[in-house]
Amino acid sequence: MAGELEGCKPLSGLLSGLAQNAFHGNSSITEELLHSQLYPEVPPEEFRPFLAKMRGILKSIASADMDFNQLEAFLTAQTKKQGGITGEQAAVISKFWKSHKTRIRESLLNQSRWDNGLRGLSWRVDGKSQSRHAAQIHTPAAIVELEFGKSGQESEFLCLEFDEVKLKQVLKRLSEVEESIGTLMQAA
């Protein structure tokens, strides 16, 4: 039966399922589902610790946001451990992390954001024309609609009006942010 677990074809699927559940919040991917779909011949009492081991390895890799050198060192250590993984399994895990790392990291970042996240921005510019009784001549205005929301919640919308003066003020603030980012990136 151990040979069944060592086979690598279903391991890739298992890692996908684990990632869906652990990082992307898909609770429909259960242990039972993974077992019946990927390792139906393996008795549950053998499958359970195997799943836990793979889950632990994947979580360690994701938590440390391992680069490829760290990954190789980590997986090599796992192959040398008592009750660790095989060289073939290490190769499957390595391949999986390389192709899913960005998506998993993005999910982890989203989970750590508890405030509103920006989801959309749309805008138009209106040219206000003179009306018969109003004093203003031609004051163009920009209408900006921001879409934002908390993770997993519906979007909120905010509609803002800016004249040229206001826009300049905002741009000044935004350029301060950009300068700050530049400083941060240099220091990194």
Binding site: N116, L118, S122, R124, E156, C159, I181, L184
Partner: protein, 87 residues
């Protein structure tokens, strides 16, 4: 590669009222670690917008964005400023 690009589309005004921006605060933060990920290393821009609706009522909204999202946000505002000058 654009990381989480946010939607850019023709303004369709889902919000019912148009507000004025009263104040704009910003901060550049770095999320270092969390219970789910010990190595986050995630820089982000958070803006706090104080807005007044037509009745004069003031509200505050906080919005967070990634660095690429901020750069897109800034680019959009520069574009708006360029267009408004030509009107």
């Amino acid at each position: 590669m654009e990381e989480s690009p946010f939607r850019e589309r023709v303004l369709d005004a889902k919000s019912e009222v148009t507000c004025q921006l009263v104040d704009f605060q910003w901060k550049l933060g770095m999320a270092v670690s969390s219970d789910r990920c010990r190595s986050l290393k995630y820089p982000y821009v958070a803006v706090k917008l104080k807005v007044a609706d037509p009745s004069g009522q003031v509200n505050t909204k906080s919005i967070e964005m990634t660095i690429p999202q901020f750069q897109n946000f800034y680019r959009q505002f520069k574009e708006i400023a360029a267009v408004i000058e030509t009107v």
